[in-house]
Amino acid sequence: MIEAFNRAMSLSGVFWLSISLISYLIALWANKKCKGHPAAHPIIVTALLISLGLYLSNTQVSEYQRAASLLHWLLGPITVALALPIYRQWQKLRHFGWRLFASILLGGVLAPVSAWLTLFVFDTPSAIQFTMLAKSITTPLAMESSAQIGGIPALAAVFVIVTGIVGAVMASVTFSLFNVESRQAQGIALGTVAHAVGTAKAIQMGEDVAAMATLGLCVNGIFTALALPVVFGLFI
């Protein structure tokens, strides 16, 4: 932590942190202009702008990562902060009971296992296979747990975000294809399978959908992050 702060105070630290912050503000503005379309997720625009900056100033990515290590370090505390939304959803969880848990469990197991199976069939390297297991949970938890099971955190972040975008973009088509009209069910599926990006889409669909999506996001996030390292620790 002290090291991260020291780097942030150095000249290149201040420079790249400011560039990151400005890029993010531009990304937020662009997202608003696109009416919050999932494909215009702020992180994509931010990453593109910073890449452009790195390219123009002929800076290595590793150099940027060192300069901006404060941002990366904050991922740990922000993971802990997720306790707040989970705490706030607790009453609702009890209200909906086992049906909600069963739905989230199905989505929480089906999404990573089917994705992993695809990679297994195609015989991709095992680090990529393991990383894919964390694709349906919120980014900070996915990065932590993929590191724990021998996956690649950077790749986990990308898989997670792309999964969220795909889920949010495909939601309406998929729901009409599977004949799902229940708004409750749509919310649960979006939060469970497409985490925070799916939840952002659910917020646009209405408050009732958003509440269920948040439940899916929280419950699946905790259980997957808890289950992955334990299963790997015990059996592999």
Binding site: V80, G107, L119, I128, P140, S145, A154, F178
Partner: protein, 134 residues
């Protein structure tokens, strides 16, 4: 002034839970990530001290809303794995696009059936109750 104090208490509890989580995991070599244990510690603290909620909320609401910014250094690090991604592109695209859509549909369909069965049961119950009341 009170707000500043709340933010300070909220942030201090988050960091305390974070470091406690890291400490316990490194001391006991548990399987789970330290920050996840920290999350559970903070969750436990919120259940024991509900008045902590407003302080924590003041400290973390804005960072949580903008946490995307924190992933940027990690996401840029993916360029190091570009070769791996390219050589497995087809499998990765199928794994993300097809299985995500499929899982989304199945989960929603299953959950709709579960909740509908509850509704029909509730309707059946009110009907039979109504009958008894007659």
């Amino acid at each position: 002034m009170q707000n500043v104090k709340d933010v300070f208490i909220g942030a201090a509890s988050v960091f305390a839970a974070y470091y406690l989580g890291l400490l316990i995991v490194s001391a006991t070599s548990l399987f789970i990530p330290g920050p996840l244990l920290g999350l559970f510690i903070l969750l436990g603290a919120l259940f024991c001290l509900p008045q902590l909620e407003s302080c924590v909320a003041r400290a973390v609401t804005v960072p949580l809303k903008h946490m995307s910014l924190l992933f940027v250094p990690a996401v840029l690090g993916v360029s190091a794995y570009w070769g791996d991604i390219k050589s497995n592109a087809l499998a990765i695209i199928i794994a993300i696009v097809i299985t995500t859509s499929f899982s989304l549909g199945i989960t929603a369909w299953f959950s709709q059936r579960l909740f509908n069965s509850k509704k029909t049961k509730a309707i059946a119950n009110t009907k039979s109750n109504g009958h008894l009341d007659d």
